[in-house]
Amino acid sequence: MAAPLELYCWKGDWGLPSVDTDCLTVLAYAKFAGAPLKVHKITNPWRSPTGTLPALKTTEESTRSLSKPSNIIIHLRKQKYNADYDLSAKEGADTLAFVSLLEEKLLPALIYTQWVDSKNYVDVTRRWYAENIPFPLNFLLPNRIHNQQLERLRLVRGDPTLEPGEQLEKELYQDALECMTLLSQRLGSHKFFFGDSPSSLDAYVFGHLAPLLKVKLPNGKLQQHLNSLDNLRHYCTNILILYFPSEAVTPTVSVHSDSSDFDSEPHKRRKQILSVLFAMGSMLGYAILMGIVSIQHVRPQAALVGPRHIEEGGEEEEEE
């Protein structure tokens, strides 16, 4: 057996193993296929081998590190971790089709609701990323991703003058609501999409729907619709409980002392006190050196007597 593969992905929150859709897809697939992965949950994409997250570090020299979820899943399949082993040819074809449906109809709305809708972006997304990405990237990355996602929506819709607003929101959400209804109809009352064991399609659907279910957004139309589709809601919570039990226990933002050393929350107070002390100490030192502030032990009259004392001291020394 090859050495365990290493996966770099975004940190989790709100009861999810990761906050990012692609990372969730890969994590879920790895659990379904039983692939032993060493998972690094980080908040700095520049630390990953490819510069983006998720990233799978392979031990072979012939393959570079992989970043797209589809590439990662193909690689895991080649390593004999195949969650689609039992699927018939038609079910394999259905998988491709439904993944395309997710990417064409649901993903643009997800991008919009998380990154482009102004209230959601400012109140939740940007705040979370700014709090969790280490300095100084937390000033650059959220905005950069926001611009990239808006650009992506513009290119996909073919309209370079697209602006976030009600019209765009209406169109995107209409497609997304229809997509979720279709998924719900296809799932029916089954436990997973194909039989009783999960497959790659379940990983993709989970990756797309779970953030929508768990992340509390102020403008939550998509969330409301998802909550109204009972079977999809149970489906997502079921997967969370079965395959990610440790995450499901912690609902609020809690302090993790993981392998990640980028968590600065517990040290925030200490850092603040240290920095204030350092600043005050350096200011005081500078003041003393420049003579702005001086500490005088000598009384004003003693200045006249000073030299005599020294002379006497000197005579005394000479005598002795």
Partner: protein, 258 residues
């Protein structure tokens, strides 16, 4: 019973100008309208792209309404009382929509990639054809602008890093999925064609009858015999009347890009 419709007027690019992806889309719409038994008249305009409300061809002009792209056209005709997918149950409808997105996501994107991101094809075929109605320097500017726009889109959706071989492989996978779904049935659902059949026919037929710099794309499709039979069946059922002696020439419908 036809409720509304004065004759629809379908607008596309002219034969010299049209490219693979636009031809596929317009053939799909034509097939769909013929399947609905709606009379359609095709008009060729070099500025069809700019006339369209969404910037994409083809679009139809009916009465005082203009609708572009297959999805909205299907909804429009449904609102007027013509629908091919009424007989499907919920699960089948979900599958139909999913497979339509599969064709859009993989086949259409692959066609765009081959046309505009492959340098040979772009230089020899796409740019000259796209800019043929215009004179210098507008033709150069518009062609390069379109190419740059498509390349940026490929970048945004993650296709920019793919090689041509990988794109052919994706097309092959897509065809395999379609072939599996079709099986031995005459159409994808029941015995009646739906908009999915129209869309698949549009794309596959165009790829088979279009000459590009290499035949590999056509070869990938030809390896699936049920897809070939499917295309032939739809051509014979819905397009026979518009071609004289086409059976002897085999696949001759649609422009070839040479």
């Amino acid at each position: 019973m036809c409720k509304c419709m004065s004759v629809c007027c379908l607008f596309v690019f002219s034969e010299d100008q049209i490219l693979l992806s636009d031809c596929a889309s317009s053939l799909a719409v034509q097939a769909y309208l013929r399947m609905c038994n709606l009379p359609v008249h095709v008009s060729c305009r070099s500025n069809a792209e700019y006339m369209s409300p969404s910037g994409k061809v083809p679009f139809v002009h009916v009465g005082n309404q203009v609708v572009s792209e297959l999805g909205p056209i299907v909804q429009f005709t449904k609102a007027k009382g013509h629908s091919l997918s009424d007989g499907l149950d919920d699960v089948q409808r979900a599958e139909m929509k999913a497979y339509m997105e599969l064709v859009n996501n993989m086949l259409l994107t692959a066609e765009l990639y081959i046309q505009w991101c492959d340098d040979t094809t772009a230089t020899e075929i796409s740019r000259p054809r796209y800019s043929s109605p215009y004179s210098w320097p507008l033709n150069q500017i518009l062609a390069y602008q379109k190419q740059w726009e498509v390349r940026r889109k490929m970048n945004a959706i993650g296709w920019a890093g793919k090689s041509l071989e990988q794109v052919y492989e994706d097309v092959s996978q897509c065809c395999q999925a379609l072939s599996q779904r079709l099986g031995t049935q005459p159409y994808f659902f029941n015995k009646q064609p739906t908009e999915l059949d129209a869309l698949v026919f549009g794309h596959l037929f165009t790829i088979l009858t279009t000459r590009l710099t290499s035949d590999e794309l056509g070869e990938k499709i030809k390896s699936y015999s049920n897809l070939l039979a499917f295309c032939r069946r739809i051509e014979q059922s819905y397009f026979e009347d518009s071609q004289a002696g086409s059976s002897s020439r085999g696949y001759s419908k649609g422009p070839s890009l040479f």
